[in-house]
């Protein structure tokens, strides 16, 4: 006898997870409580133990698949030789009723033979009838397991098309319209506005287009209501027409009557399933207007894109001859995921018709622009504070001029940015929180033991932030050479994704253009960013030593404006002031670097 093992409850509020690893395969003998699979939920990775022992007959799930609580994982054969039993014998066994199967415990219930005619559990009129399809709530995107049903958009009797929105639900990410995976006539609606609905829950039933008959259904084929009817129906033409004969009891066992509650999400084509996600993202046409056939990508890469619901024509290629690599698709997926986050979901303001007032031109945003727009909108949700200070760089400037020739000989340029890199690296060692990230879900702060620092580079395509690795292990001359080289590659579009990853802090120097203080926006998931303005000679009042009043004189000093924006969720104002003071003093006395950094 075989039993179906389903995904058990995993704990509070966890209704699904991603199957990371299967630990058993068909034919394996397993013991009760032996782990069957590894599941990654949004809380943790758990091993799912077997509720009983036996031989694995069949595994219904694949690695990488999303599983919901209650979903069948595998069938277990209780006896040792069960799997070898001939099919014919199995079919001859009495069929247990569906009710019994559902009620019996997983360990002992005799599961229906494969392909058995389990009548539909729902008692609704005509359930199990030809052409009835259940529409359940499909997956709505990462980590969304449920939502509040805002509105039902169809009613019983409506004819709906495939992809027509049927309900509107509000998740914690956004409000989405859920499209129907089926076309047909709505025969039953199982939900109402205001209720909470989970992925996999039945929304409504449709009777499929092909089988909708004007009135009265199919007169010559009476609706079977039970197992007996199924058989009767199969046998009917045999008696009527004399010639065809039905093999006793076997024929219907080959096919199954429809199980209306079976989650249709399982069998929908990728496109339909990805729809709710797309609805969350701002609509975007492939900037290139390429057709999929023109896209250069290996079959496995194209398949990956389809699997994770990405339009391959949207992916920017880094390979030779415009080839799209595995990594390109993954990077694109990461970027577009950001767009599904809160900020991006904010509805765009309706635009007026600008052409009314004069000539306009529409330009597609390039990938850099799009990525910046998304990233910045996302970062906007971070509670920013900007702290300003000025550093006295008079002494440093002298040193800089003295050594600049040496740097040039090495192919670099001894810029303020190169020096700032070194100084910031030193500061991050003293104040590690400024290189941290926040894991709100786990309620943890992630400290990084490496010092990779991003430097904003202005290119003709837009802002790019290459990352300089291990800044703490390089001297200022080496950094100046590397900076020059990276900036050059950024401008020539020669940077790969790996050159843009892994930063713990960002420096943006607008001093070359001008201006004093500004409010840089944090490059999330980092928590702080340093903006540098243009240094200027300013009169600084030097108090006479010993005097306690305004006795003293003005001195020309070269002052560098520094603006530090930080994430107030993790960094307090006092710490930020200390951090920035440390930076300023290091600019004033570079000696501090070797002392403390």
């Amino acid at each position: 006898m075989s039993t179906e093992v389903t995904l058990p409850e995993l704990g509070e509020n966890v209704s699904s997870g991603d199957l990371v690893k299967l630990l058993v395969k068909p034919g394996d003998r397993i013991e009760k409580d032996q782990p069957l699979l590894e599941l990654e939920t949004d809380k943790a990775t758990v091993e799912v133990p077997s509720p009983s022992s036996g031989t694995v007959k069949e595994v219904h799930v694949r690695e990488g698949q999303k599983l919901t609580v209650g979903q069948a994982i595998l069938s277990l054969e209780a006896g040792d030789n069960g799997a070898q039993r001939p099919a014919a014998k199995r079919q001859a066994e009495p069929e247990p009723s569906a009710g019994k199967t559902a009620a019996a415990s997983a360990a002992s219930a005799p599961a229906p033979a494969p392909g058995a005619m389990a009548p539909a559990p729902s008692e609704g009129p005509g359930s199990g009838q030809a052409g009835r399809k259940a529409v359940a709530l499909p997956e709505l995107g990462e980590n969304i397991a449920s939502g509040d049903l805002v509105k039902v958009l169809v009613k019983v009797g409506d004819r709906i098309e495939k992809d027509q929105p049927i309900i509107e639900i509000e998740t914690d990410k956004a409000t989405v319209e859920v499209p129907s995976p089926e076309a047909g006539t709505v025969t039953e609606i199982a939900v109402k506005a205001g209720q909470k609905i989970n992925v996999g829950d039945l929304i409504l039933m449709v009777s499929s287009s092909a089988e909708v008959l004007p009135q009265g259904g199919l007169p010559e084929q009476p609706e079977p209501k039970s197992t007996e009817n199924v058989m009767a129906r199969a046998a009917e033409p045999a008696q009527a027409a004399e010639e065809p004969s039905v093999r006793d009891g076997e024929a219907p066992a080959r096919g199954t009557w429809e199980a209306p509650a079976e989650a249709p999400a399982q069998e929908e084509p990728a496109a339909a399933r990805a729809l709710p996600n797309i609805a969350v993202m701002p609509a975007r046409r492939p900037a290139s207007g390429r057709s999929p056939a023109d896209v250069a990508a290996a079959p496995s890469v194209r398949q990956l894109a389809r699997e994770i619901g990405i339009d391959i024509t949207d992916v920017e290629a880094t390979g030779r001859g415009g080839r799209i690599t595995f990594d390109d698709v993954k990077r694109h997926a990461r970027e577009s995921r950001i767009s599904a986050l809160p900020g991006a979901a904010a509805p765009a303001l309706p635009l007026p018709d600008f052409a009314k007032w004069g000539e306009i031109e529409r330009q597609p945003m390039n990938a850099v622009r799009r990525a910046t727009a998304r990233q910045m909108q996302y970062a906007w949700a971070i509670p920013h504070v900007t702290q300003n200070d000025k550093a006295d760089t008079t002494a440093l400037e002298k040193l800089r001029q003295r050594f600049s020739e040496r740097a040039e000989r090495m192919g670099g340029k001894l810029t303020t940015t190169a020096v700032a890199l070194k100084i910031v690296a030193g500061a991050l060692k003293v104040f590690p929180r400024f290189a941290a990230s926040l894991d709100l879900a786990a309620e943890e702060v992630i400290l990084k033991k490496y010092v990779h620092i991003g430097v904003a580079v202005d290119t003709e395509r837009g802002l790019i932030v290459p990352v300089i690795r291990d800044v703490d292990k390089k001297n200022i001359l080496e950094l100046s050479v590397e900076l020059a080289e990276v900036a050059e590659r950024a401008r020539n579009r020669k940077l790969g994704p790996q050159d843009l990853e892994g930063g713990v802090f960002t420096i943006t120097n607008l001093g070359g253009i001008g201006g004093t203080f500004f409010s840089p926006i944090i490059n999330a998931p980092q928590v702080a960013i340093l903006g540098i303005g243009r240094s200027q000679w300013e009169p600084v009042f030097r108090r006479e030593s010993g005097s306690d009043g305004a006795k003293g004189h003005f001195e020309p000093r070269l002052l560098l404006p520094l603006s530090l924006s930080y994430d107030h969720r993790i960094i307090d104002g006092a710490d930020a002031a200390r951090f920035l003071r440390w930076l300023a003093e290091a600019f004033e006395q570079p000696f501090l670097l070797s002392l403390e950094g």
């Binding site: 179906e4 389903t6 069949e58 595994v59 609580v69 209650g70 979903q71 069948a72 099919a87 229906p112 494969p114 392909g115 030809a130 052409g131 359940a136 076309a183 199982a190 829950d201 499929s208 287009s209 092909a210 089988e211 199919l218 084929q221 199924v230 199969a234 033409p237 010639e243 065809p244 004969s245 039905v246 093999r247 024929a251 219907p252 080959r254 096919g255 199954t256 429809e258 199980a259 509650a261 079976e262 989650a263 399982q266 069998e267 084509p269 990728a270 399933r273 056939a293 250069a296 990508a297 290996a298 079959p299 389809r306 699997e307 994770i308 619901g309 390979g319 001859g321 415009g322 080839r323």
Partner: protein, 481 residues
Amino acid sequence: MKKVPEKKTIAVIGAGPGGYAAAFLAADLGMQVTLIDRDPNPGGVCLYVGCIPSKALLHVAALINESAHAKEWGVSFPSPKIDLEKLRGFKNNVVGKLTGGLGQLSKQRKVTYLRGTAAFMDSRTLKVQKLEGGAEQLRFDNIILATGSRPVRIPGVSIDSPRVMDSTGALDLPDIPKSLLVIGGGYIGLELGTVYAALGTKVSVVEMMPGLLPGADRDLVRPLAQRVQKSFAAVMLNTKVASVKEEKGGIRVRFEGPEVKELEQVFDRVLVSVGRRPNSEIDGLEKTGVTKNARGFIEVDLQRRTNDPAIYAIGDVAGEPMLAHKASHEGRVAVEAIAGHKGASFEPRAIPAVVFTDPEIAWCGLTETQAEAEKRAIKVARFPWAASGRAVTLDRTEGMTKLIIDPETERLLGAGIVGPGAGELIAECVLAIEMSAVASDIKLSIHPHPTLSETIMESAESYFGQATHIYRPASARGAGG
């Protein structure tokens, strides 16, 4: 509202290369599968009366031709004596072995094989009229249509006479006729014509269009056309068959067209091979949501799902090109889609086509003809086999390899090969196109020497004007070919 999903049940109608590939994968993915066909074992047209028997006979034809060719190398054989019964036996054996093997494979996978004809009661219910008598009504979660295609018959030409055959009749080898008229210069007619010509029949081909193998690039067809000029009795282009009449001792055929020399001729036998049409007239199909296009092909989406969500269609019945390997690939896609694999989609960049004549012709991806029609900028890099050491050792230097390259990205878009073994060689080009290889990828991949595969590498070299075995002065370079 959650429910334990039961094992999916699927039916596959038609057990050709599309149908059995689908059925086997479905079984491997844990579905309960019923495969329905009239033949004793899976195989369909391809194994019983198509690809396989024709290739068995073409292998014999190649041997006959080669042994005659050997005279020029100082080795002569007496002209071959043909034991037709034994030859037929060899061919039937090949078919029996392969279809029997498929029968075994389907048993091992616990696929239920039903011999009979399937008709629809509704989208998910089939009535199978069994060959052994009786009928069965079965219900499934999904149904895959893989009913294939059949030869087109022309009224007035496909007359009811044992002397007028279609491809199936010709593969039966009823005799070695003195003369045979092949109506239609497509690949099936030319392949079977090649077989009969080798066996000693005087073969004539008549084709309505101005060239053989309509649709294929002309430069690929040329070496074959030249060869059949010699091995066939006649090739009549721009010519139509006006009428066919049976008379004592033969079939009288009347021709029509500007180039007709003899208005009427009498042939021992006539082979009608003017194309194939989809088997989409399935009983009860109108009770489902399945739709067809004007040519009778069933309309499907990228997952091969028809307009009826429960029904999929694959292979010849689902559209061109009508080729076995396309059918199998589609079969796997459809099953993966049914299994809910999100990555399932039929979107090949290149489907190879092979004509197993002598010489063989093979191509894949974009053709020159197509590029011209689409006004698409391409560069063509050709390598004549006269410069291939291997071709010279075979004494077959009429061949040619060409690569069709996107001048902007240097990506390989298409390839064409004519010459012995072209069918085996083309697979490399398919892989290169699917992997989006650029010309230098092919150029930089070392190919074994001396083999014909080097012609692909040297074509890529010639794209850069640097093929080792062709000298092209710098001034001629970049001319694209």
